[in-house]
Amino acid sequence: MTQQKESQHPETRRLDVDVERRLGELQLQARFSCAAAGITAVFGRSGAGKTSLVNMLAGLLKPERGRITLNGETLFDSQAGINVPMERRRLGYVFQEGRLFPHLSVRGNLAYGFKRVPKNERRIQLDEVVALMDIEDLLERRPSALSGGEKQRVALGRALLANPKLLLMDEPLAALDQPRKDEILPFIERLRDEMAMPIVYVSHSMQEIVRLADTLVLISKGKVEAVGTVEDLTSRLDLRPLTGRYEAGAVLTTAVAGQDKAFGLTELRFAGGRLRVPHLNLPLGQSLRVRIRARDVSIALSKPENTSILNMIECTVQAIGEERSPQVDLQLDAGGAAIWARITARSCRALDLRPGLKVFALIKSVAIDRQSLGRRDRAERFLAEDQ
């Protein structure tokens, strides 16, 4: 009953965190509030305190001071002396290493949390999860007989079947190689879209976050530096040292505007114009998030002719990053959308770039690969199988 009430009032589905604890050299001091809906990514370098923060949410680590509330329910409050034990917090936890129970079959693992949920609160059922995670054939196996990707799918299913109010994931893909990551990512998207399961997702990979997350919590040296949408935070110049230099780039919200069957290209529309990318098996109008890395963007003062570059976007230079290294990052404005370009300091000088100047951003279509794309709402798998 309470479950239904909660979903009728989505505004009450919030996660409020204000915790402090000394961790060796690090003083973790995290304070943020976000909607308990969609995927909230906690991003920061290793050692920034991401895992400790999530462990505090789960009740594995006790803050020295502070308060944690989820959907209005207090999980921890140092002043009121409340510390709900982890088994009663009803937060699912997917660990980096899966942590399947070796003495139980896959079925036994899946049932472990499920059978401890009161019958009238079992919103998510076994059959549903087995189908969602595509693990029908694995049910009678032992964890030792599973591949890394399969283990992680079972771990996802097991956490989901405990019918949690929120799912915590601590770098669930970090122990997997790229093909395995690509295998698991769609399943996490299905959790978000088909089960409407709110997720807190810890990662140090911007790629994963752009693909999955709606909200971003940036943490650095134990402090929360910013909370906001992924699009907003990745386009803020002042947060660049945190969002990462090597992976620097901007995130655009786009919609599918057309298909070029003959050349296998898909046209995406966004605030600043059109982008052509390798074919996507998506219906017209499907919204999609695209990440364009700064190093894939070049600059021209006039529209080039006779070039292989398909994407030429008219923009205005908005800001120029500091010129200390041989490279400079430019923030460009394309009809209100931010694009980043990384060019050499030499070119920057030669073109006499300065804020306010009109330029063309040149983006190679092939630079936008499947890892740069994040589906925004319910849809079938969008990438053509031959990709």
């Binding site: 789960a58 594995l60 034990p85 982890m86 088994e87 009663r88 917090r89 009803r90 937060l91 699912g92 936890y93 660990f95 290493e97 942590r99 129970f101 070796p102 003495h103 079959s105 472990y112 949390g113 401890r116 949920v117 196996r141 032992r142 964890p143 030792s144 007989a145 097991r158 956490a159 405990a162």
Partner: protein, 230 residues
């Protein structure tokens, strides 16, 4: 030739009974002490650890003598036991079981402790995030995972109990039908003129008994291991 003499079958039955009870009674304590030593830090841990291991390094006669001092009719614990429950341990088979249990205790604790050490505590945490209480986690995750170690501990303790001699003869003496276990019967036969043939038979019986116990434990261990590994 293959028939057991009454003396032999009596000694075997008594030995099995003593060893069985020694293991059964010490198992809960062994598990608790192993758990305490492996999972907790507390004041006096080194002392407890030393005390548990003492029977391993002390001459068994010393252990038997200490038991007699402590639990004899006029001993501090023994007089209390007698006055409260009318229960005496010296010179009874229960006393033999206790002596065997004390002597085998360090072996049992060591084996169980090793297996507790090898349990990945992250699995226990995972269990708790799935809604299981501390005790539910112990019974559904930890206990199945340390079962092979518990079995090993029991077998070691059982074998040690079958062979217990020094502490037994000191604490409960060598009473036919009550405390004369296999090693004690063997000792008695060696002391008697013309007892040599009987002693040899008993020695062979001991070997057979030990082999059977080892074989059985190996079978169970294999089954447990295959259940764990899939």
């Amino acid at each position: 030739m293959l028939e057991l003499t009454p003396l032999e079958s009596e000694a075997i039955r008594l030995s099995l009974r003593v060893a069985f009870w020694a293991v059964l009674v010490s198992l809960p304590f062994g598990l608790a002490v192993a758990w305490l030593l492996q999972r907790y830090e507390f004041y006096g841990k080194t002392l407890l650890n030393g005390l548990v291991h003492l029977p391993l390094v002390l001459p068994p006669v010393v252990v038997g003598y200490l038991l007699l001092v402590l639990l004899g009719r006029r001993g501090p614990l023994g007089s209390w036991l007698y006055e409260t429950f009318g229960f005496t341990l010296p010179f009874t088979w229960e006393g033999a079981a206790l002596a065997a249990a004390v002597m085998a205790f360090p072996l049992m604790v060591r084996a169980i402790r090793l297996s507790i050490e090898s349990v990945d505590q992250n699995l226990e945490t995972a269990g708790r995030t799935l809604g299981a209480s501390r005790s539910a986690v112990f019974f559904t995750i930890t206990l199945p995972l340390i079962a092979p170690g518990i079995l090993t501990g029991c077998v070691l303790a059982f074998a040690r109990s079958l062979g217990e001699f020094g502490a037994t003869i000191t604490f409960v003496s060598n009473i036919p039908g009550e405390t004369r276990t296999l090693p004690l019967a063997l000792y008695s036969l060696i002391q008697t003129p013309e007892g040599e043939a009987g002693a040899l038979r008993l020695a062979l019986l001991s070997v057979l008994l030990s082999l059977a116990a080892l074989g059985a434990s190996e079978l169970i261990a294999r089954r447990l291991r295959s259940r764990l590994a899939g």
